[in-house]
Amino acid sequence: MADTATARATGPGHPAPVAEATGISKRFGATVALRDARVTIAPGESHALVGRNGAGKSTLVSILTGLQQPDTGSLRFSGEPAPAFGDIDAWRSRVACVYQRSTIIGELTVAENLFLNRQSAGAVQPIRWKQLRQRAEELLAEYGVAVDPAARARDLTVEQRQFVEIARALSFGARFIILDEPTAKLDARGIGRLFDKLRDLQDQGVAFLFISHHLQEVYDLCSTVTVYRDARHILTAPVAELGHQALVEAMTGESAATNTAATSTAPAARADSPELLTIDGLTLPGVCENLSLSVRKGELVGLAGAAASGNVQVGEAIAGLHRAKDGGITVGGRVVRTGSVPSALAAGVGLVPEDRHVQGLVNNRSVAENATLTVTDQLGPFGTVLPARTRTFARRMIRDLDIKTPGAATPVSALSGGNQQKVVVARALATDPHVLVAIRPTNGVDVKSKEFLLGRIRQVADGGKAALIVSDELDDLRVCDRVVVMFHGRVVAEFERGWRDEQVVAAMEGVATPAAGAASASFTASGTEAHGR
């Protein structure tokens, strides 16, 4: 593997790279998280690291920040070998990191958060609060963060908290900072301000490793991009030289150009069949505005979008989990009261929730109980739940969905991920819904189960119902008759069967490719447009 010119821009006269990782491998049990991976960040550079889920980005971050030890490979900061594993202070003086999860403590003041565990010089030396607030004020002023150091951190906005985290991370003296999906929780204007801040810092000579799922942000902010795929380093190139198409191809693999959506034998839904699910001008505060979507009888529609796009919330809103500010949802001609799960159930909506562990399963209870949770009213007279009827019902579901379980009484926690997910799907189907909403239905399941589950959902649609798959996985979307793509709360593209991977990925990442055709007209790169620099 030869390095590209940019990756090794450290000829004579150039300072050593702020961070350089070579030949990094890391495995967790049987899974290989990183295979001979590398990355080089030059001083003052803004370097993007992109890749799909499971590409090894997070593992690289934890290795670069000293939270995990690589199995092989070497790590150098500014030409010097990395500090000893476990020497937190030494690591922090070389590399700063703003993690995906907030490490701000809400009950403490901003000042104390900034200097947590170093409020005073020594352990027995009393903290001088006035001085601490002053130091905090200076630190915040240095990075141009307009936050009152005496305010309680919980009263800050997400954006302010992020700025505080950045200031704290840099206050240890590092000139290199890793930002792990910093824009995921921000709105468009917040992202704009964050980028302004980052550019300011870059002018001060701080180098970045910027991790994001939104490729447009990479184009806006970064000068160099490194792509990881399947635990490997794929390429490193200047952003300016790498077109959208090439970048998406690098992320999705060789298949991007050749692999078109698999053709299905199922007949496409007739355009004249009635609409079973209609979303009209749906507005969910902070998620989406004036969103319209319809699914016809016999149709399977994919609602695609990246993490912050709001597609999951829209799916959940159909099932009555979110109250809409405006707009309506109609199922089979019946208006569903938004924010009411019973109303959605009565109208005939079945939901496969996003996270089966949190929203889906009662882990220590049996397969039978879990599968029949939505239909307890059918299991006996006068509100009773008859064990015999539950068992019969559950056996039918187990057969129907080919759930591999020792028996109906086995606790679901003993099942494999794929079979657990089948139980969740079984439950959604138990009510015989008119509209099935499946959110990331193949999340964390093996290939075999994945195929089966998608086939079963397809079957629901073919049986004269309507189905909506909410997902960012291309495999899930491939079975759909039609894919609607959301970005930052609005529909930006729509694809009929026969789309190519990179078209959908580009639309999800907020990059309008020419291939997206007419759909791109409605796309506006909200908030991530280039700032005049």
């Binding site: 937190i88 202070d89 003086s93 993690y99 999860r101 907030s102 490490t103 701000i104 403590i105 809400g106 009950e107 403490l108 104390e112 947590l116 565990n117 170093r118 409020q119 005073s120 352990a123 027995v124 030396q125 009393p126 903290i127 609060w129 006035k130 607030r133 002053q134 130091r135 004020e137 200076e138 630190l139 240095e142 009152d148 150091p149 005496a150 309680r152 206050s171 240890f172 003296g173």
Partner: protein, 349 residues
């Protein structure tokens, strides 16, 4: 590291113009402190009521009596406040207050010649340090079970509560122990400068605890751990070790409370401390310490104890039949919670 210190140097000169601003901030901080003082008005109202219902209330004897009765409870409250702030719970404190003195006395008392026969392993003056040592051991065992074996703290300490109570009954054969070494009872009985020594000691312990939590890094670490243990860990705080120390400290305080209590009444009763934990939690929580951790102050917890004790005292003076005490105690706890909920404007969850 050095970057921050460098930044501080030149800024010292800039501090003067910012003084006005800091002054404004200063007043806001004070307001933050008032949250801990939300029970002070309640205490004042109680004292006013006490003054109205009985002339005996506002006498030095009565007030010192209230304080003296608060001492043992307040030490458990101090322990519970520390433990709750770092997000844990220890129910076994109420048994430690009884079992620690019993074990200590059992180890030192002679094998024959008295109603209660001990082992006579140590000289009598050792009773005091042995009692504290028992507290340390109990705390360490709790910490081991909760932090090393990762057992549920609530159930572990509930089990410990029952087990230690049983141990006390077994060792003392269910009877009160009255033959106590004089060194053991000294602190509970003695009077310094016209006030019971126990009050002085408690005041000092509260001052130390409150100061440590306000001005020491390790004290502040408790808030960080209780607020977000993961964030505390990334900030370099040794979370498990700190929590373990706090649990040990808590049991140590409970054992010490046991010494004061035994000294005060001149005997170790078989039910010493039994049922206290509810009052302890109530006092701590109405004093503003959050059951979810990361919130509250030692001073607030102290006002919680005083409020509860004053209520009991005022009711006694007002001639409320003692049979109604329990009912009113519970009612007061709920009323106090409602008041502090709306005084602070925050949900208690």
């Amino acid at each position: 590291m050095s970057a921050t210190t460098d930044l501080t140097e030149p800024a010292a000169s800039k501090a003067e113009p910012a003084a006005a601003e800091t002054g404004r901030r200063g007043s806001r901080i004070d307001l933050g402190h008032f949250r801990d003082l939300s029970l002070i008005p309640a205490i004042l109202v109680l004292m006013l009521i006490g003054f109205i219902v009985s002339p005996a209330f506002l006498t030095a004897d009565n007030l010192i009596g209230v304080l003296q009765q608060s001492t043992e409870l307040s030490l458990l409250v101090l322990a519970t406040a520390l433990i709750l702030i770092c997000g844990r719970m220890d129910l076994s404190l109420e048994s430690t207050i009884g079992v620690a003195p019993v074990i200590a006395v059992w180890l030192v008392l002679p094998t024959s010649g008295a109603r209660f026969t001990g082992l006579g392993l140590f000289p009598e003056w050792m009773a005091f340090p042995l009692c504290l040592l028992v507290g340390v051991v109990i705390g360490a065992v709790n910490g081991f079970l909760i932090l090393k074996l990762r057992l549920n703290g609530f159930i572990v300490t509930l089990g410990m509560l029952t087990m230690l109570r049983g141990l006390q009954v077994a060792l003392s054969e269910g009877q009160s122990i009255v033959e106590l070494p004089s060194s053991f009872t000294y602190l509970g009985k003695a009077s310094w400068l016209g006030m019971p020594a126990a009050i002085w000691v408690c005041a000092v312990l509260f001052a130390i605890g409150g100061s440590a939590l306000a001005w020491l890094r390790h004290g502040r670490a408790l808030y960080a751990i209780g607020g977000n243990a993961e964030a505390a860990r990334t900030a370099g705080i040794r979370v498990d070790r700190t929590v373990w120390i706090v649990l040990i400290l808590g049991s140590l305080l409970a054992a010490f409370a046991g010494i004061l209590y035994s000294g005060h009444y001149g005997s170790i009763s078989a039910t010493q401390g039994s049922g206290w934990i509810f009052q302890v939690f109530a006092a701590t929580v109405i004093g503003g310490v959050s059951l979810n951790g990361g919130k509250g102050s030692i001073f607030g917890a102290l006002t919680g104890v005083l409020t509860l004790q004053l209520v009991v005292n005022v009711m006694t003076l007002a001639g409320v039949p003692p049979l109604w005490n329990q009912f009113l105690n519970g009612a007061i706890i709920i009323v106090a919670l409602i008041i502090s909920r709306f005084a602070s404007g925050e949900k208690q969850e």
